[in-house]
């Protein structure tokens, strides 16, 4: 037996063998690799601001249920049942249509690791209070009955998806063991129009899951890797940002929920500002921003020959985050320059009739229309208050028709990200 195999120098033997086997020379594919990367755009920093946030510990805080005197409870229940029977027919909450204009309910957002709802009356309600867990990216279901959100547990770099009823009850984890990117600027999931399913992305693959966490399944064959999925208003397609192979360029794709068939929609390169698709309420048009050196706004329309891409807004400015009004007649986007924070611009669906909304300081990030299409809300700050690239202290509500002055809403932790979602109520 040799001295080495006596294991006196076992580690040294392993290190020597590893060095020999790995080879010492520089590989000859550096230039090839860099040439491939030349066609790849960087994700904007705001896409994963979860990485910029302090991770906090996790465990759900149990809700303390007060003790009741059983007889009193029974009596109260009897009275309530009687009242309920009297008004049942007329009192059931009418649900809004999943797309199109609706009445405006509460605005859901995260700040300081908890979720909040702010109503149109300005009253703030804290939806979660979990000092051991960070919640983010709240998004209302299209009927306004449930809220999906992401959560990051202590010591974890990945997120999971949770669903809660609108009153905060029935909170459950629905993403199984999937490890999701802790993005905070965009919602972690997109609801199906009927509110029964969600689509999420994990490790660049798309998954659909029921709202109760059942039937988690991967979409497609993985030939197109993707992120930022958003469900079509018609329910049959899901748009996402994808790329073919590890070095393929980013483009907007749609995947058929039933068959898994994937189709590339955008032809213009994404450039430095990325691509995030937004469905028009008719389910036949998708808006996104693209461009190799700056961002223009494009709309792809589904017609007889397939999807046709058309530039809607072009120019030398950076025009990003096109977002449809709920009636599908207008688009808004953030216009920014190198030296200036954003301004919200509204155009007709064909790009005409451009108007710049009066604003405070608007962050370069997604924004959203209120369900009644009267206002747009965006991350921002008070006028003349500078904000960093990563976050802003609150939200600015802008009147679309310019009849009301901008309103600034400071969030509890003076920290706001772009994921924003309004509760839709029946008109």
């Amino acid at each position: 037996m040799t001295g080495l195999t006596a294991h006196d120098n076992f580690e040294r033997l392993v290190v020597g063998w590893l060095d020999e086997t790995a080879g010492a020379g520089a590989p000859d594919y550096l230039d090839e690799t860099l040439a491939r990367i030349d066609h790849v755009a960087q994700r904007p920093a705001w896409l994963s601001p979860g990485r910029w946030l302090p991770m906090r510990a996790l465990t759900l805080r149990r809700i303390e249920v007060p003790r009741f005197v059983p007889y009193l409870v029974a009596l109260v229940l009897l009275v309530l049942i009687g009242l309920a029977l009297l008004v049942a027919a007329g009192s059931q909450r009418r649900l809004p249509p999943p797309f199109g204009p609706a009445a405006t309910g509460s605005f859901a957002y995260d700040s300081g690791g908890d979720l909040y709802l702010t109503g149109t009356d300005g009253v703030v309600r804290r939806l979660t209070d979990t000092p051991d867990r960070r919640e983010f990216g709240a998004v209302w279901s299209r009927h306004g009955t449930r809220i999906a959100f992401g959560a990051v547990e202590s010591g974890s770099r990945s997120a999971s998806l949770w669903v809660t009823e609108s009153d905060g009850s029935g909170t459950r984890r629905v993403s199984g063991d999937l490890e999701l990117e802790p993005t905070a600027a965009l919602p972690l999931a997109s609801w199906s129009p009927d509110g029964r399913q969600l689509v999420i992305a994990a490790d660049q693959r798309l998954y659909v899951v029921d709202a109760d966490g059942a039937n988690l399944r991967e979409l497609g064959d993985g030939s197109v890797l993707g992120a930022e999925p958003t469900w079509s208003p018609l329910g049959d397609l899901i748009a996402f940002v994808g790329h073919e192979g590890p070095t393929g360029e980013d483009a907007v794709y749609v995947i058929d929920v039933g068959s898994g068939m994937t189709t590339r929609i955008s032809q213009t390169r994404g450039g430095p500002t990325g691509l995030v698709p937004a469905w028009a309420p008719d389910g036949l048009r998708i808006a996104y921003h693209a461009g190799p050196t700056h961002a223009d706004v494009f709309v792809a329309t589904l017609g007889e020959p397939g999807w046709i891409e058309r530039p809607i807004v072009t120019g030398s400015t950076i025009d990003s985050w096109p977002t449809w009004s709920n009636d599908g007649r207008r688009l808004s986007f953030v216009r920014s320059t190198v030296t200036d924070h954003g301004r919200i611009v509204v155009v007709n669906a064909d790009g005409s009739g451009e108007s710049v909304l009066a604003s405070g300081t608007i962050g370069w990030s997604p924004h959203c229309w209120t369900p009644d299409d009267r206002s747009i809300i965006a991350v921002g700050a008070e006028e003349n208050v500078s904000i960093g690239d990563e976050d802003a202290p609150g939200y600015v509500i802008l009147s679309v028709d310019g009849t009301r002055a901008p309103v600034f809403i400071a969030t509890p932790a003076r920290q706001a990200f772009a994921a924003c979602s309004w509760e839709r109520l029946a008109p």
Binding site: L13, T21, T247
Partner: protein, 195 residues
């Protein structure tokens, strides 16, 4: 503890910051500085030069794509290693989905001298290393080839420190067992007994 030659690699923080801001030249310099050890690491984990190349290219592509999301430039190195290991494991998973040709090498048992014994040790190590699963290989490579501390290995692989330690321990035990088995075979040959 044996210190590998790759230990102490220093990443230029300024380059990371510039690359994070979209500076492709800065990223090219980072890639040029890292590609040798990335390639070596990937070769060890995948045991295949072509798969190693694919894994390195994917890791660097993801690195460039997602670099703006990296908060702390000082964690660039650990983050890049994590991307690489994940790319290597993805490559191996893809490879498992395809039919694989296995080349069998006839084992010779020549007269055993000191240098031949060293060669035999390395052959045995190679065979033992091939038997490790990719996750175990990754731990061994990060610790003994790249010279990362166990804490850094755990961070790079997104594992609890205890898991990284136990995984390394199991991997090294298997390698030792491979060497022991091989040494017993050589010893029996020298003594004229059948292997």
């Amino acid at each position: 503890m044996v210190v590998p030659h790759t230990a102490g690699f220093a990443v230029d923080r300024e380059l990371v910051v510039r690359a994070r801001g979209g500076d492709r030249d800065a990223f090219a310099r980072l890639a040029a500085a890292a590609i040798s050890r990335l390639d070596g690491t990937a070769r060890l984990i995948t045991h295949d030069p072509e798969r190693a190349k694919d894994a390195v290219q994917e890791a660097l592509t993801r690195c460039w794509r997602d670099l703006p999301t990296l908060r702390d430039p000082d964690r660039f190195d650990a983050w890049l290693h994590r991307l690489l290991v994940r790319a290597c494991i993805d490559e191996l998973r893809r490879a498992r989905a395809r039919p694989m040709e296995v080349s069998l090498t006839e084992l010779h048992h020549p007269t055993v001298g000191d240098s031949a014994a060293a060669l035999a040790d390395r052959d045995a190590l190679e065979r033992g290393f091939r038997r490790l699963d990719p996750e175990q290989r990754a731990v061994v490579v990060l610790h003994y080839y790249l010279g990362l501390s166990l804490a850094d290995v755990a961070e790079a692989l997104d594992l609890p420190a205890g898991t990284a330690k136990s995984r390394l321990s199991r991997a090294m035990s298997r390698l030792r067992a491979a060497l022991d088995a091989d040494a017993r075979g050589r010893s029996e040959l020298m003594e004229g007994r059948p292997a």
